[in-house]
């Protein structure tokens, strides 16, 4: 690679120094705040919001709007959660596993379909609008058919979770690919990227921000479909969050119902904001899609 070797000579080096001096000027950046400060800045509003919600809840209970056995306060719910701790944990484990399994399967299907529909014109004409249509269909509406197909069993839940998540994932990828600036595609072609190589090295990374947004939405749909499913399809002898909700309701145990609801909420928030939210932010920052002035 002799062509690209550096030129010697002290005048050249002097010029190098001057030029990189110019470049350093162009790159001047303000210092970043410390890690602790950033974490604190992100958490205190959330903690305040939680505290506020708890206070309002307690106030409503104290107001006597509903009898306490129907609407218990935070303290009672806290006790109920620990009273039934083992069951709740095993239920959360089952539900989470069902969600993850269905989501991963939807990821494979949604990505494959999305890629094909985005890149093959005939498939686009045939299925493009159908996928958007599927996305607007409430997934609970699939349950009667799913139960007929798979009985009251795991299969029915799995089926609906996949159908809930896959269209969002496919759609995220399709719109991501549709919105790639043409200059990047042409740039890839000039560099000699064709076919599958172009897909892997140019198209997929270029569509990534929108794809991750699709994944996030897909997970939200999967989680919703899953809990609807667990309320409808109860499998004997198996703890799950949906089944726990239903069981507590049958025992008229409001505190138990609310405790399970909070578990559902917390898991939802954790995955949505910690996992997908963080991924989304990281990618947007890396791609330079964040306005640094704010």
């Amino acid at each position: 690679m002799a062509l690209f070797e550096s030129r010697g000579g002290s005048s050249a080096q002097l010029l190098d120094a001057e030029l990189s001096g110019l470049d350093q000027l162009e790159m001047a950046l303000p210092p970043r705040p410390s890690r602790l400060a950033r974490v604190w800045a992100a958490t205190w509003p959330k903690l305040t919001a939680v505290a506020l919600a708890l206070i309002i809840w307690q106030l409503v209970v104290w107001s006597g709007w509903k009898p306490e056995y129907a609407l218990p306060g935070p303290r009672k719910v806290w006790d109920a959660f620990f009273e039934n701790f083992d069951n709740n944990m095993s239920a959360a484990g089952t539900t989470l596993w069902r969600g993850v399994r269905g989501f991963l399967f939807a990821l494979v299907i949604g990505t494959t379909i999305g890629a094909l529909v985005a890149r093959v014109r005939v498939l686009r004409a045939a299925f493009g609008s159908m996928i958007t249509g599927l996305q607007t269909m409430p997934s609970v509406a699939w349950f009667p058919l799913a139960i007929l197909l798979f009985r009251l069993d795991e299969g029915a839940i799995f089926f609906v979770v996949v159908l809930g998540a896959a269209p969002s994932i496919a759609n995220g990828l399709i719109s991501g690919i549709d919105h790639i600036p043409p200059i990047l595609l042409r740039s890839g072609r000039v560099l000699g990227a064709r076919g599958l190589t172009a897909f892997r090295l140019i198209i997929l990374p270029a569509a990534l921000p929108s794809f991750v947004a699709g994944l996030k939405q897909g997970w939200a749909f999967a989680w919703r479909s899953l809990l609807a499913g667990e309320l409808i399809v109860t499998i004997a002898g198996k703890y799950s969050l949906g089944q726990q909700l239903d069981a507590n309701r049958q025992l008229a145990d409001s505190a138990g119902v609310i405790a399970v609801m909070i578990v559902i909420l917390v898991i939802g928030i954790m995955i949505d904001s910690l996992l997908f939210g963080t991924a989304e932010r990281t990618i947007r920052r890396r791609y330079g899609l964040v306005d640094t002035a704010t």
């Binding site: 690679m1 030029l19 990189s20 110019l22 470049d23 740039s187 560099l191 000699g192």
Partner: protein, 272 residues
């Protein structure tokens, strides 16, 4: 002018090396190329019967008012688009195009962007690392390997694009206003680097610019396009000895002459 128009037309496989001796064989030849964008009602003619030949190892600069079809022409030569009528033949090897607009991949670092060009040519990893480093040194961006494109200035992005294009080691280099947003000092350095590389490798270069002095500084020949639709209106062979300096009198004199002609052209078409 005569040299270009009398060049022999022979079919050769595109893989044939351009520097294998056949001196009269054009590396790039456009024959009565017309390009019209859009259809019927709102058709925009961008190029009108443009004929141009570039010989292997020649450095040709293309000048013309904004919107006269220079980028269109480069796109056609790069094979990114097809002419409406006429033929574009590229026999002098693989072309690469350095785009006018920002064309770096935003998900890759500076190093990653340059590295991709080498990776797509199936060069082994250890070898790539060295070459990328040398390329970045050449465009004076050592130390910026890990930056993302959006963290760079416009001129720095252009230089990364230049490094990426050179990394392809194509035989034909098409450059669309590559140094438009550089300060004069950096630009002069890159002129030297580009000229050195061109002499050492026998690259064929088609270089678009708005800067007449830059065209005279670099080119063996300066081609002037008229506006809307673009058409070749004049060619100026540059017979100033190399190495040239952009601020020298001979460069300034020829540049003044070409600017005069360019001004006539722009005035005639009532463009800006």
């Amino acid at each position: 002018m005569t040299r270009a128009s009398t060049a022999a037309r022979r079919e050769e496989p595109a893989t044939e090396s351009p520097r294998s001796g056949a001196g009269s064989l054009a590396a790039i030849s456009l024959d009565a190329v017309t390009k019209v964008y859009g259809h019927a009602g709102n058709a925009v003619p961008a190029l009108d019967r443009v004929s141009l030949e570039v010989e292997p190892g020649e450095f040709v600069c293309l000048l013309g008012a904004s919107g006269c079809g220079k980028s269109t022409l480069l796109n056609l030569v790069a094979g990114l688009d097809r002419p409406t009528t006429g033929t574009v033949e590229v026999r002098g090897g693989r072309p690469t195009l350095m785009f006018q607009e920002a064309a770096l991949f935003p998900w890759l670092t500076v190093r990653g962007n340059v590295d991709l060009a080498l990776k797509l040519r199936k060069i082994s990893r250890p070898h790539r690392r060295e070459t990328v480093q040398a390329l970045l040194e050449m465009v004076h961006l050592t130390g910026f390997e890990k930056k993302m494109p959006h963290e760079l200035s416009g001129g720095m992005r252009q230089r990364v694009q230049l490094a990426r294009a050179l990394g392809q080691q194509a035989e034909i280099l098409l450059m669309d206003e590559p140094f438009g947003s550089l300060d004069a000092m950096t630009r002069d350095v890159l002129h030297d680097e580009l000229e050195r590389l061109w002499r050492e490798t026998g690259l064929t270069v088609l270089f678009v610019t708005h800067n007449v002095r830059e065209a005279v500084r670099l080119g063996d020949r300066v081609v002037l396009l008229s506006s809307r639709p673009g058409r070749v209106v004049a060619e100026f062979p540059v017979e100033i000895d190399r190495p040239r300096r952009i601020e020298s009198h001979s460069v300034a004199d020829l540049a003044a002459q070409i600017t005069g002609r360019l001004r006539d052209e722009v005035r005639r078409h009532g463009a800006v």
